[in-house]
Symmetry: C2
Subunit: 344 residues, 2 copies
């Protein structure tokens, strides 16, 4: 199974995607091909031996082969012909814009390229924190209270109880996120969040809340779960900390939690995943307060695919490759047009 890792993308998480992709070089035993999506929305084939961060920060990647997306493949032009890039499946590793917002999923769908990654609806639900909350509510999964504000109505923001946490509505990796302990610090936090998004989400920040992360996917109607991780927090995970974590391939120890909480986390994960997230490996970040589980966020393409949380990530990827959702085929028959024409 030859896997093409597509990474980069046009978002504030571009660099994280590069780091994630490099991390997987040592984790996956498959033949790998690296396809970089740069900020001009051009694809490049990066030789495996050049998969290091400097290739991108120095723009050296531009000297490698430019690729175009065609039916069932990427291809490159040579002087005499167009050459197909050979691979069996794509792994979508573009965090944030283009990867987690449904654009790449749509391109792969349109060009009949099989891929591991969230499909369009899964992207919409997970990238937009308002839709995450709506979806969870409808599934009967608890979420913290929240308010959404648009930049144009920021003068309506009126916070009664501090501390709160302020997040851009559609960004991951803690970018633009602040904890605000008192009114004096509010404006700066709002400015930081609105720098990255026209809409922000405000929710209570609960000091003693526990945080647990659980990754997984469904293969052959059976859920494969990672260990449950209790992320270390320095108040909360900021971008620098998370960023360095994304390069991680080191295994972590499972969180110490009761069987009852473990089951609740897993049951919530199943509800969230079914069936909209099929084809992807996701990480759900939960809160637990007074034995009640709350969904915090859904990461539809978690940093370095949360590989370090799985016992045998390589095996998981290979099994998932063989169990991707199939498109329904639709037979277009023109029955109704014929009926109209015969009625004329």
């Amino acid at each position: 199974m030859k896997i093409a890792i597509v990474f980069g993308g046009i978002s504030y998480e571009h660099e994280i995607s590069i780091v994630s992709s490099i991390a997987l070089k040592d984790v996956l035993k498959n033949d790998l091909i690296y396809i970089f999506l740069d900020e001009q929305k051009d694809f490049y084939h990066i030789p495996n031996s050049n998969m290091q961060t400097s290739t991108f920060s120095t723009k050296e990647y531009k000297k490698y082969d430019k690729l175009t997306l065609n039916k069932q493949t990427f291809s490159k032009k040579t002087f005499i012909c167009t050459k197909k890039i050979e691979f069996d499946i794509v792994l979508n590793l573009v965090h944030g814009g283009y990867g987690e917002d449904g654009v790449l999923a749509s391109l792969f769908d349109f060009f009949d390229i099989r891929f591991i990654g969230p499909r369009v609806e899964a992207c919409s639900i997970s990238i937009n924190k308002f839709l995450t909350k709506s979806y969870s509510n409808s599934l009967g999964i608890n979420v913290l209270d929240y308010k959404i504000y648009n930049k144009s109505k920021s003068d309506e923001i009126n916070i009664k109880n501090y501390p709160v946490i302020i997040k851009p509505l559609k960004l991951g990796s803690s970018i633009g996120v602040s904890i605000v302990n008192k009114k004096d610090d509010l404006q700066y936090a709002l400015d930081s969040a609105f720098e990255f998004d026209n809409d922000i989400l405000i929710e209570p920040f609960i000091n003693n809340i526990k945080e647990y992360n659980l990754a997984g996917c469904k293969i052959d109607d059976e859920f494969i779960f990672s260990i449950i991780e209790e992320p270390k927090k320095n108040n909360f995970l900021d971008f620098d900390k998370k960023y360095l974590d994304f390069s991680s391939t080191k295994k972590v120890s499972p969180a110490t939690i009761s069987k009852q909480i473990e089951n609740q986390l897993k049951n919530n994960f199943k509800k969230i995943y079914n069936t909209i997230f099929e084809g992807s490996i996701i990480r759900c970040d939960f809160f637990v307060l007074d034995d009640t589980v709350y969904l915090n966020e859904i990461n539809s393409i978690p940093g370095s695919m949360a590989n370090y949380l799985f016992e045998d990530f390589n095996d998981l990827i290979n099994r998932l490759c063989l169990n991707l959702p199939r498109q329904e085929s639709i037979n277009i028959r023109y029955d109704y047009i014929s009926k109209i024409n015969s009625n004329k």
Copy 2:
């Protein structure tokens, strides 16, 4: 303003899209170009003079120029070169799959083509009736009670109160929809719905409920509404009836409703539209029962763009063309990669 109408697509609503597109030929005074997406996912440039249903049902369209999607344009290959198709903007008129599910929106976004039509999140919310309900609930908009069932769990379906209405979860145009008055008729209705979708939605069918449709869009922060239509129903609008309606360009009379209900419909429309549906003209179908408004469905690309509900549809389209949402530009700086490298 030269408008390229993209129509066809791969869905059970393929034929409706053809009829919608033909209907707009007489409504829009702009220069028009017709681009057909066939079931092999190939684009064809159809001469305006050949925009009639037989061009498609006889597959005659295959003799016209095949187009490829490139940065900022569609183009065709001639013997000596590649020729750009000239237009200012795309009007996405692909109902159902590929048009209303986010795929075309993503393609246009990726290839920097300006378009009128729902963006990715708008598509996810409107095409999936579960997400429509979740979204509405979170906005404080009433919806009828409902249950969702997967084909694999159809033996769990247990209906206490008839009549109910059964709908495929993700189809429009009443395809696969049945009203079931008694238990004996249930199996046939389930089979009909599951023929089109692996998931179905069941909700109560309320005989004396009123139905009102309202279309509109936002231009320069101001909402432009259509008249409110009370669709004629023959129990409910079936596919044949709707299909013929989609070819309609005839104006209809506004529904007779109180100012209070009219305001409620418009306020609900605004909440739904803001800001996720920017760039599109949508039709919201509402129910009213005992002076309470319920959202039934959101049509993100309504049949023939609901042109017949607007006083001056041509003017609306031209104004919307000048007021489309813009992509935020993101500057990728490689700050964090530099930080990591300097820490090594």
